[in-house]
């Protein structure tokens, strides 16, 4: 994975109704870096992530991926993965079917890889359970499994450690470290300090909201 990838945000602002959530946000993240977005509730952390991921519409400011605009840019979309509270899992499909669905969208079918990924995430034993039968933590693990089905360079993670046990958290942290060491990029929100986390050495912090 080449480490030359860089995402940069210039003068980005976001308003909800009549409230300006944030104004003139500037940052740049390149390969091997993790941007930790912090701030009080309602300061626009999730909105920022959704803007960067391309779900929400950019009203003011610029977001560029390797110096070309991210809007309607298939190169960006194929390298960016977004994981949030809404897991993107279909309740009436089994765990492995959910994962296979995303794999087919991106590349092709590779059953062995699917099993490997589920194993890595520690949920191979529930591969054939319906997603609605999984526990909350298992669903989180399943949604993170999606990060591994294709070579996504930029991971956008909204509160990745919510509702997940310690071993799960350690697992995700080690996945993130591995990703960063391979030259990947991460933009994440987390309401707690990450000073003790193995992610700390890759981390830079962006504080949103008025102090």
């Amino acid at each position: 994975m080449p480490s030359s990838k860089v995402i940069s945000v210039k003068d980005l602002s976001c308003t909800r109704g009549d409230n300006q959530l944030f104004d003139a946000v500037n940052f740049s993240v390149s390969g091997g870096q993790c941007l930790h977005v912090t701030g009080p509730n309602g300061c626009g952390k999730t909105s920022l992530l959704r803007l960067v991921a391309g779900i929400n519409f950019v009203e003011h400011g610029e977001i560029s991926w390797n110096s070309s605009d991210t809007a309607n840019n298939p190169n960006f979309y194929s390298e960016c993965a977004y994981i949030a509270h809404k897991e993107g899992l279909k309740n009436e499909l089994t765990a492995i079917e959910n994962l296979r669905y995303y794999q087919q969208l991106d590349s092709g079918t590779d059953e062995v890889a699917l099993d490997d990924i589920l194993d890595k995430m520690g949920i191979l034993k529930c591969a054939d359970l319906l997603a609605q039968q999984l526990s909350f933590g298992q669903r989180r693990r399943l949604s993170f499994a999606r990060l591994l089905i294709a070579d996504f360079t930029l991971w956008i993670l909204d509160e990745p450690f919510t509702g997940i046990d310690t071993s799960g958290r350690n697992l995700i942290e080690s996945l993130c470290v591995e990703h960063l060491q391979n030259g990947g990029l991460i933009i994440m929100t987390h309401h707690q300090s990450l000073v003790d986390s193995p992610l700390n050495q890759y981390r830079s912090e962006l504080k949103l909201g008025r102090a």
């Binding site: 519409f57 298939p74 979309y77 809404k86």
Partner: protein, 207 residues
């Protein structure tokens, strides 16, 4: 979608029940039923389609798969075309297959049954495509059902007019080619433009 069989059967059952309410509630004159039969079947088809529209994007929106579709490099309009056609298979196609059966209850002569087959076959895909635009516009709203109806029904009226008009025409022994062409024109237009409208609506409302 097809894992959930109730979503498949509900519109069909609704369609048949609505259509059968008319013979129950009207005087049992064969002639009257025969005259209104075509209109009743079309109105029921439109209502049944609309009933199923609200749930079209709802679960995708709730569980987050819709967001994932928005940021997927694959063409969103194409995906939406697929989505609308899947919706049509589950509603419109089934209704089309069943509508000739309803002819019996409305005493519609059997030589006119093909009209009740060809009309819905050309008309119901447009219902799904146009309806999907309305469903996409209202997907984030908590009570979008009524709004879908207000938004979509004006656009459904031409289809209804041509579809039901075909039956009146055949009953009077007139040509129906004109209506068939009109339905086909609407279908061609909605199949080309609706996917873009649906994709645009989703991008606008999911925010």
């Amino acid at each position: 979608m097809f894992r959930n069989t109730s979503s498949l059967i509900q519109p069909l059952v609704f369609f048949i029940i609505i259509a059968l309410l008319f013979p129950f509630s009207l005087p049992a004159e064969g002639e009257l039923l025969q005259r209104i039969g075509g209109g009743v079947i079309w109105v029921s088809a439109v209502l049944a389609t609309m009933l199923s529209l609200e749930s079209m994007f709802h679960s995708d929106y709730q569980d987050g798969t819709l967001e994932q579709m928005l940021i997927h490099p694959r063409s969103l309009p194409l995906a939406m075309l697929g989505k609308a056609l899947a919706h049509w298979t589950a509603t419109g196609l089934l209704l089309t297959l069943f509508s000739p059966l309803l002819c019996v209850t409305f005493n519609i002569p059997s030589e006119q049954i093909w009209v009740l087959f060809a009309g819905p076959l050309l008309g119901t895909p447009s219902l799904s495509l146009i309806g999907a635009t309305g469903a996409a516009l209202t997907v984030t709203l908590r009570r979008g059902g009524v709004l879908i109806a207000i938004v979509i029904l004006p656009l459904y009226i031409p289809i209804l007019i041509f579809g039901a008009g075909m039956l009146t025409q055949t009953a009077q022994g007139l040509e129906v080619a004109s209506q068939l062409y009109a339905l086909a024109a609407i279908l061609a237009l909605s199949i080309t433009l609706a996917p873009f409208a649906i994709a645009g609506a989703l991008r606008v409302t999911i925010n």
